[in-house]
Symmetry: C2
Subunit: 346 residues, 2 copies
C-alpha cells in the first residue's frame, strides 16, 4: 500500500506554502500521491521513467478488418521504435524516459529485426493471435507465459533503475480486444465502448462494433477469471501488459496509464491484484470511449485532455512534467513563515 | 500577422509522419500555431520563455474587503518572487523561463525592496489605485504611462532574447477589476463573472459581486475606449499588462495567457490591437468563471485544466512542455517514407 503518513505530511505541508490553500488545484493532489508512492515528504521528481511498448498483432484485424491500417504496420512500427522515429521516442527523449519495445506477438517472420536489434523479438510468446470474435486469442499456457513476461519486464526495468513505469502499446487491431475487455469489466455495451481507433470510417466502425459484441459474448463466462478472460478475448500483448502493471504495484513502483490499451490491461490487473490502482495515475483522456469507461471504473481522473488517440504511451509521457511540477512546488516553495508572508488567518 | 505559409507547411508535414492523421490531437494544432508564429516549418522549441509578473494593489480590496488576504500580502509576495520562493519561481526554473517582477502599483512604502532589489519598484506608476466601485482607478495620464511601461517591458524582454512571453499577476484584490473588465467586454453579468479568487467565503463573494456590479455600471460608458475603460475600472498593473500583450503581438512575439487577470488584459489588448489574439494561446483554464468567459470571447481553448487559481503565470508555465512536445514531434518524427511504414492509403 502507498504510505499514508507521507501523504498526510504532504497535505499538511501544502497548507504552509505561500499560496492560497488549494490554489494549485490538482498539482496539490498529485504531490500527495507522489509522497504516498515514494514513502517520503517532500517527494523527489521521478528520475528514471521507463516506457515499455508491448507490440502484438491481432487476428481480428485480418478476419474483420477492424483497423484503418494493414497488419504489417505493427512490425514496421516496431522497427521505427527501435530506430527512434516514432512519436513515443520523441516525447520520451523530451521527458528523459527510456524506451524499450518488446515483440510479444507480432505477425512477422523470425529475423525481421536481425539488422537492427534481434533482442526485441527474442521473447515473443506467439505469432499474432486468434480472432476473438470466433476463437480464443491464445491458450491458457500462452496467457500465463505472457503475464510472466510482463512481470519479468517490470523486474528488469526496476533493476535498471526505473522509478516510474509507463505501458505503451503498438498493434494494428489492438483497440478491438481492449474495448472488449473494458466492455466486459465495466458492464458497458459493445456499441458504447467501440471507438474509431486509428480513424476508421463508419462502415468499419459498424463491423468493429459487431466484432466487439461477438467477442464480449464469448468472454462473458470468463469474467471472474482474469487469465481465462485474457485467453478468450484478450491478446498476448495485453496479457503481458497486465502482468507488467500488476507486478509494478506489487513492487511499489508507480505507473502512469496511457490510453485505451493500457486502461484495458489496468482493469484486468486490478482484478489480479485488487488495490493495484492506488499506484497508478491516468496520464490523459484518450478520445476512445472505452478508455474513459475504464478510468471511471478505476476512479482515475486523467491529467491531460488534448484529443490524443495514438497510444504508444504518448499520453502518459506528456503528463511527466506535471509530476515534476507537483514535486517541485511542494519541495521548493517558500512557506508563509520563511518568506514573512501573512496568511489569511493572521 | 502569423505566417500562413508556414502554418500550411506544418499541416502538410503532419500528414507524412508515422502516426494516423490527427492522432496527436491538439499537439498537431499547436505545432501549426508554432510554425505560424515562428515563420518557419518545422518549428524550434522556445528557448527563452520570459515571465513578467505585474504587481499592484487595489483600492477595492481595502474598501470592500473582496479578498481572503490582507493587502500587505502583495508587497510580501513581490519580495518572495525576488528571492525565488513563489510557485511561479519554482515552475519557471523547471521550464527554463526567466522571471521578472515589476511593482506597477504596490501599496508599500518607497524603499521596501531596498535590501533585496530596489529596481523592482523603480518604475512604479502610482501607489495602489482607486476603489473602482465608486471612483476611477487612476487618471488617463497614469493609464497611458502604465500601458507604455508594459510596452517597454516587452521591448526589454525581447532585447534580452525572449522568444515567448507570459504575463503573470500578483495583487490582492486584482480579480475584482479583472472580472469587471471581462464582464463589460464579454457582455456577461456581474454575478456570473465574479469568482472566489483566493478562496473567499459566501459573504465576501456577495460583497465582491456587488462591487463588480457597481464597477461595471461605472465602466459601461467607456466600453469603446480601452484607455478610458482601464482608467475607470481597471488598474495600473492590468493596464501595464495590456500594453505588454499588445506590444508582443505588434512585435510578433507569441504569448501564453494565464488566468483571469491576464485574460482581462488580453481582452483589452485585443481591443487596442485587433487580431493580437492570433499570437496567443491559452495555457490553462482557471477556476475563475470570468477567465472562461474571456477565453470563449477570444476563441481560445485552454491546454491545461487542472483546477488552478493561483495566477502569477503558473498555469501558463505548465503549458510550456506541451509546446516543446508539439515542436519535437513535428520536427523529429520519422515519415512513412523514411521509416518504410505503410500508410493507410497504400
Amino acid at each position: 500500500m502507498p504510505d499514508e503518513d507521507a501523504a498526510a505530511a504532504a497535505a499538511g505541508r501544502q497548507l504552509t506554502l505561500t499560496k492560497p490553500a488549494g490554489a494549485l488545484g490538482r498539482l496539490e493532489e498529485l504531490s500527495v500521491w507522489m509522497c504516498a508512492v515514494q514513502g517520503q515528504c517532500p517527494p523527489t521528481p521521478f528520475r528514471h521513467p521507463a516506457l515499455v511498448i508491448f507490440a502484438g498483432d491481432h487476428g481480428i484485424a485480418r478476419t474483420a478488418s477492424t483497423s484503418a491500417y494493414p497488419p504489417e504496420v505493427t512490425a514496421q512500427m516496431v522497427a521505427n521504435f527501435v530506430t527512434g522515429g516514432a512519436a513515443a521516442n520523441v516525447l520520451a527523449r523530451q521527458m528523459g524516459a527510456t524506451v524499450r519495445v518488446v515483440d510479444v506477438s507480432v505477425d512477422a517472420d523470425a529475423g525481421y529485426l536481425d539488422a537492427i536489434d534481434p533482442s526485441v523479438a527474442a521473447r515473443r510468446i506467439r505469432r499474432s493471435c486468434g480472432s476473438i470474435d470466433r476463437e480464443d486469442a491464445m491458450t491458457l499456457d500462452e496467457t500465463a507465459a505472457a503475464i510472466a513476461l510482463g512481470r519479468a519486464l517490470t523486474h528488469e526495468e526496476q533493476s535498471a533503475g526505473a522509478d516510474l513505469l509507463i505501458a505503451g502499446d503498438m498493434g494494428i487491431g489492438n483497440t478491438t480486444p481492449a474495448a472488449t475487455l473494458i466492455g466486459l469489466l465495466t458492464g458497458t455495451d459493445a456499441a458504447t465502448v467501440t471507438g474509431r481507433g486509428t480513424g476508421i470510417d463508419d462502415a468499419t466502425l459498424t463491423r468493429k462494433a459487431s466484432a466487439v459484441a461477438a467477442a464480449m459474448s464469448r468472454g462473458a463466462e470468463a469474467l471472474d477469471d482474469p487469465t481465462l478472460l485474457l485467453a478468450r478475448v484478450g491478446s498476448p500483448d495485453i496479457a503481458a501488459m497486465t502482468g507488467y502493471l500488476a507486478e509494478a504495484s506489487a513492487r511499489g513502483i508507480p505507473v502512469i496509464l496511457d490510453g485505451i490499451v493500457s486502461c484495458a490491461a489496468a482493469l484486468v490487473a486490478e482484478r489480479l491484484s485488487p488495490g493495484a490502482c492506488d499506484w497508478w495515475i491516468a496520464g490523459h483522456r484518450s478520445t476512445e470511449p472505452a478508455a474513459s469507461a475504464a478510468l471511471t471504473a478505476l476512479s482515475l481522473d486523467p491529467l491531460i485532455d488534448l484529443g490524443l488517440r495514438l497510444g504508444e504511451g504518448t499520453g502518459a509521457l506528456l503528463a511527466i512534467p506535471l509530476l515534476t511540477a507537483a514535486a517541485g512546488t511542494l519541495s521548493e516553495m517558500a512557506t508563509f513563515d520563511s518568506a514573512g508572508v501573512t496568511d489569511r488567518d493572521a
